[in-house]
């Protein structure tokens, strides 16, 4: 955990050192504006790939000596966003879909514990506000930052019960979470949006469950919710690296 935080701050530090302050903010954007088809004042749709490291924590039954169960996992997936950009600000809806393997995590499902290995998938949706700074790296990559609240659905598929519970592998444990995210990245400065400017971004997200669902996925065409209820037993946070392009 400390190592990831260190890498995260190191990246920011290196970016700050490499960044050249442009005395004239307009200069960064002028290449686009003068080209007659500016990226500013424009709608955009972006897509790309994501790589993340997730730290997941689940509360255990109060009778246990141990209060929490932890698991660290890597997730892969894709990201999309739709936004509207003014000169330095952008309002956007951003989404990540992540998939990965789960290592030994215990869940509190009503009054029993389910411990297992398997896989997980996450769908997040975030309305974000993004600020394009007047700084660029090598006069080509515009530095930006974005932040906003996050809603997510975190689904766990337990394939191996490690405490021999009778939890069927066709069942899913799903948490509806709320949280927030903070991102920093660079976007290529290009004259035309049609040249598909690339972006690279690192982000941090925190989430905490507010509802739990136990669903039966025996019939993949018609997944049924068996139980649902309020739950604050699951929390997680993740660092994510995104890369992608503006599609149009």
């Amino acid at each position: 955990m400390k190592a990831y935080l260190f890498i995260f701050f190191l990246l920011i530090h290196v970016s700050a050192l490499a960044a050249e302050k442009d005395t004239d903010q307009v200069r960064i954007h002028s290449q686009n504006v003068l080209a007659g088809n500016p990226l500013e004042d424009n709608f955009n749709l972006k897509t790309g790939l994501s790589l993340s490291r997730l730290f997941q924590t689940s509360a255990l039954l109060p009778t246990q000596n141990k209060h929490e169960s932890h698991s660290e996992n890597t997730g892969f997936g894709f990201n999309t966003s739709v936004g509207y950009k003014w000169s330095s600000w952008e309002v956007l809806f951003s989404s990540d879909a992540l998939f990965g393997k789960l290592n030994d995590l215990t869940f509190k499902v009503e009054n029993q514990e389910v411990r297992g290995d398997g896989s997980f998938r996450v769908f997040t949706l975030s309305p974000l506000v993004r600020y394009y700074s007047p700084y660029s790296i090598w006069n080509r990559w515009n530095i930006y930052t974005s932040a906003g609240p996050t809603w997510s659905l975190h689904t766990f598929i337990i394939q191996n019960n490690l405490n021999n519970s009778d939890f069927d592998h066709k069942k899913r444990i799903s948490f509806e979470n709320r949280g927030g995210s903070l991102n920093i990245g660079v976007e290529e400065i290009v004259p035309y949006k049609e040249t598909h400017p690339a972006f690279f971004e690192v982000g941090y997200s925190y989430m905490r469950s507010h509802r739990i669902f136990i669903v039966d996925a025996s019939d993949f065409k018609d997944v049924k919710t068996i139980k649902k209820g309020a739950s604050k037993d699951f929390s997680g946070h993740y660092f994510i690296f995104r890369l992608g392009i503006t599609l149009f």
């Binding site: 749709l45 769908f123 809603w151 997944v223």
Partner: protein, 240 residues
Amino acid sequence: MTKFVLKLMTKLLPIALFLGIFSWSSSYAVTSEFKEAFKDQVYADPETHKRLPLYQYGYNDREHSFAENVRTIGVVYGLTWFFYPIVQPKVFHGAGGVKEYQHNFGKLVFDQDEPFWNDFVHPLSGSQLYLLYRANGYDRLSAFEMTFVSSALFELTVEIFTEPASVQDLYQTPVLGTVLGYGIENASMYLLNSGNTIGKIIGHALNPATLFPFYEGRTFIIPKYNEEDKGAMIRMEMSY
């Protein structure tokens, strides 16, 4: 598995036999005279001997009036009302219906569907909607907006016969659908303009909206060679 393969073979055998007999019966007719006559139907570059496409496929973006937008959305929306009960017969059999509709109306939830539906089927249907609007002369942004409106109308007022509207579907259908549609659009245009028959078949299969009469991007190319002037020209015809 073996049974399935045998069953498939028995179904495919008559078709294979028919095609075999058909190709054998017509093969004798492919004489040099026939080839000479056919020369006018298939255009080839005289230097490279590569086949030239008969049509140039593309997209002609144009402005649409508000009334036209409403009419187009209305037709697509009407079609969803017609087709949804057919693909979801449970609407008529108790599991869905008017009571379910009233119960789900105005609800917005995270659905628990498998990734096959949320990350494949819904984006695939979104991509075909996007391509439908592209074929109708909408530029990329307008096609995305129309896809968003169409899928939101379906999600909020039609699909609630069987389940509440979901956040994933509202977002993934138009957004991932447009991303997928963008890729299909480029791939299909490349294949359709290759001049290759198989390329054209796959291109139309990927992008079926190019087969409809409302598709506005097909241009007829007529190469002309003038014997007297020893000059060549290409005439292009567009019909809308």
